[in-house]
């Protein structure tokens, strides 16, 4: 019988073992708050997706009907398409622009770097809603700064209806988001560039590599962790795009002419909070979460493959 006692794991020396309720008491605030503000809403959100609701109290169980409705709804498909286009633009236009700005700034002096870092980052300080309101004025046909600028440079665009013509709505959102986010991502790239080993770049230069070759074969691989992080965050952010189209296209609840500005979260917001159907909104939320999860997994896997290569 005493053998059993001898099998008990030996506690490492120096770590006292506490008995009683005290540890649980100290843990309880965290457990209670997590349960109240994370676990319960999380479970509730899952349940909600299977109900049609009218606000928080009135509901009817509809099984998978919300998901069936979503995947057969052309408006939802349009929202998915628009959001994906925006995410692609973020990755293939916004991030390269941020990188170019970061490279330019990195080659400048410290004072210049500090000044332009603030200039490019500052749009991010004012927030998306204010930027949306500001650009809705700048995009005014005939009188707006953007229209006048295009007319001056390209002899086109004085009467361009950026916010009411469907083919121009997504470009308008992209232009606004570039102004807002390019500087923000640039900060990440600039910070990463400053950690790149200068001796490697110098060695490549001595070996006769061109600036492009140095960037592609030395600089970029050295900052790939940051690049992967920024790409993932940009894609996630793109799939959560909401405030900009909502403020730019406020008269149509963020939809825009022919749904050209509609994003997944705008669709969610409209159905959940404007129509009061929290169930459908929850279903959209889960679809968005799954999309983001899958895309992030793919990106992480691709990042690992690149790292192994």
């Amino acid at each position: 019988m005493s053998g059993r006692a001898t099998q008990r794991p030996v506690r490492p020396p120096g770590r006292p073992r506490y008995k009683g309720k005290a540890p649980y008491l100290f843990l309880s605030p965290y457990i209670v708050l997590t349960a109240a503000f994370f676990v319960v809403p999380f479970v509730n959100a899952i349940m909600l997706a299977f109900y049609e609701t009218n606000g928080p109290r009135s509901h009817a169980f509809v099984g998978l009907a919300n998901f069936v409705f979503l995947f057969t709804d052309p408006v939802f498909r349009r929202a998915l398409f628009n959001t994906t286009v925006f995410a692609l633009v973020s990755v293939f236009i916004q991030l390269p622009l941020s990188m170019v700005l970061a490279l330019l700034l990195n080659s400048g002096g410290d004072k210049v770097k500090g000044f332009f870092r603030l200039v490019f980052f500052s749009p991010n300080l004012v927030g998306q809603v204010l930027v949306g309101i500001l650009f809705s004025v700048l995009f005014t046909p005939r009188y707006g700064l953007v229209n006048r600028g295009f007319q001056m440079v390209l002899h086109w665009g004085l009467e361009a209806r950026w916010l009411s013509e469907s083919r121009l709505i997504m470009p308008a959102i992209v232009l606004t988001s570039l102004w807002l986010w390019v500087g923000f991502n640039m900060i990440y790239f600039l910070a990463a560039l400053q950690t790149v080993d200068k001796t490697l770049q110098e060695a490549a230069r001595i070996d006769g590599a061109s600036p492009w070759q140095i960037f592609w074969h030395v600089t970029l691989p050295s900052m790939r962790h940051v690049v992967i992080f920024v790409v993932i965050m940009s894609v996630i952010g793109s799939y959560q795009l909401f405030e900009l189209p909502l403020t730019l296209l406020s008269e149509s609840y963020g939809y825009g002419a022919n749904d050209a500005g509609l994003t997944l979260i705008t669709y969610l917001n409209y159905n959940a909070f404007r129509c009061g159907d929290l169930g459908l909104g929850s279903a959209v939320g889960w679809v968005v979460a799954m999309i983001i999860f899958i895309i992030s997994l793919i990106q992480i896997r691709l990042g690992r493959i690149a790292e192994e290569d």
Binding site: Y18, A22, P23, F26, E52, T53, N54, G55, P56, R57, S58, H59, A60, F61, V62, G63, A65, F69, D73, P74, V75, V137, T140, P141, R142, Y143, G144, L158, E159, R161, S164, E165, S166, R167, E251, S252, Y253, Y255, A257, N258, D259, Y270, F273, R274, C275, G276, D277, L280
Partner: protein
């Protein structure tokens, strides 16, 4: 101090605990006691109404010996919070003003969830239904019952640059049909300096349809939803209207240009870029407020009719006052609602401050409504709107109201894009198909609504 040293996990958790207990104690001790809830709480979302009610409420408080609290709230948050509070059974104001088109939002699902007091019988008992503009009750009715009092009528006229229009030799009294209006519009909408850009347009017309299209649709007797709440916009008449609207905003002889809102409209009016603007009563005041330099240069005229002798107005917008089912004083709330909306001693002054025509017909005979308005070349603006008000068309609502309006816009914009790419050929067929598809998309949503009303799949 031995106790502190022996406290489980050491001194730090002990002091954290002390700080937590002391701060909670201080918070509780210094917390202000909740003031007793007033007898009635009323919420509005427009500044003009807030100012008017703030002046009026003290008299009601004195006369009834009660306390009324007036609150001002942002419309978007008010709508969502109010509906959720009603459904969740949490505290709501006794009375709340809401915008037109929102009744559907508050009347989703089964009738017992509505949270609004049914005002139909009270209105009949007080004879109000006969004293109000009948068509305005449509905005605030669903399933045959009235759930809010109408604040206004919002008949629509056209505001125009009288000086420029006269200089062009246009006699507005002859512009009594849209055909004549368009004919003149085609003559005056032109490029004046030869740079290929039109410098003068006849009318402000929203490019993507929206309210611009709806105002005209209502004038022709069309509806987004019918009285039973069924989709009603997929009609031949609306197809013809959409074709007309597309021609006026995108055709080779277009007369319409979208001015937008706020300062761009002021610039467009001041520069003479657009001669005529849509002017529901509330907007006639906004023009006077935002473009004071045009005082005396502006004038108003009724809308041209679609057929000779036809309706010369439409309607755009509206505000209503709802009483919540939760109120502890429904009779007092009803008295306050009537006092705020239909007390004729206030309505004259309120009209002078807003140009908004009340839904109460008795009020239109007050002297303030016959006062010449210098901004509009001394026209008697109140009288002009009052003469048109009985003709203001009804606008019905549905629990899927917004979806209906979005779907109509979608049909319009797809048709307009078709026109931009392929021109007139096949346009009418395209419009009909788009309207039918849009109507079906709304019916799909309405079917979901019925599931909710039944309480099961």
């Amino acid at each position: 101090m031995r106790f502190v040293s022996n406290f489980p996990y050491g001194r730090a958790p002990f002091w954290l605990l002390v700080i937590a207990v002391v701060s909670v104690g201080l918070r509780v001790a210094t917390a202000r006691r909740h003031e007793a809830r007033p007898d009635l709480v009323v919420v509005t979302h427009t500044e003009a109404q807030f100012d008017a009610y703030r002046k009026a409420i003290p008299r009601f408080e004195r006369d009834h010996g009660v306390k009324v609290q007036l609150q001002f709230a942002n419309w978007a948050s008010l709508q969502a919070r109010l509906q959720n509070a009603i459904l969740a059974g949490t505290e709501v104001p006794d009375l709340s003003e809401v915008f037109a088109g929102s009744l559907g939002f508050f009347t989703r699902g089964p009738a017992e969830d509505f949270g609004l007091l049914d005002l139909t019988d009270r209105m009949h008992a007080d004879g109000l239904d006969k004293r109000l503009v009948e068509s305005r009750l449509s905005l605030w009715s669903t399933r045959g019952r009235v759930y809010a009092l109408p604040h206004d009528v919002h008949p629509v006229m056209l505001a125009y640059r009288r000086d420029l229009v006269e200089a062009l030799g246009i006699d507005v009294s002859k512009l009594d049909t849209w055909d004549k209006f368009v004919e003149v519009g085609r003559q005056v909408s032109r490029d004046l300096n030869g740079d290929g850009i039109i410098d003068r347009y006849m009318l402000d017309m929203r490019y993507d349809g929206n309210w611009g299209l709806q105002v005209l649709m209502f004038q022709r007797g069309g509806q987004v939803f019918d009285q039973q709440g069924e989709v009603a916009f997929a009609t031949e008449d609306n197809a013809q209207l959409i074709r007309w609207y597309i021609e006026q905003t995108r055709g080779p002889h277009k007369i319409g240009y979208e001015c937008g809102w706020g300062q761009p409209v002021v610039r467009a009016m001041t520069d003479g870029l657009v001669l005529f603007q849509w002017a529901p009563d509330w907007r006639s005041w906004i023009f006077a407020d935002e473009a004071p330099a045009l005082a005396g240069k502006m004038a108003l005229m009724p809308l041209p009719a679609w057929t000779p002798g036809g309706r010369r107005t439409s309607t755009w917008g509206g505000t209503g006052l709802m009483i919540m089912k939760q109120t502890r004083h429904p009779d007092l709330a009803w008295e306050l609602a009537k006092y705020l909306y239909f007390d004729t001693t206030q309505l004259g002054e309120r009209f002078l401050a807003t140009n908004i025509l009340p839904a109460l017909k008795d009020a239109w005979n007050l002297p303030e409504f016959a006062t010449p308005f210098p901004y509009y070349s001394n026209q008697r603006v109140g009288q002009m709107y009052a003469e048109l008000a009985p003709e203001a068309p009804p606008v019905y609502s549905s629990p899927v109201d917004d979806a209906g309006r979005l779907a109509l816009d979608r049909a319009y914009n797809r048709s307009a894009e078709y026109y931009s790419e392929k021109g007139e050929a096949g346009l009418l067929e395209k419009i009909r198909a788009e309207l039918a598809e849009a109507a079906e998309s709304v019916r799909r949503l309405a079917r979901r609504e019925k599931i909710l009303a039944k309480g099961t799949l």
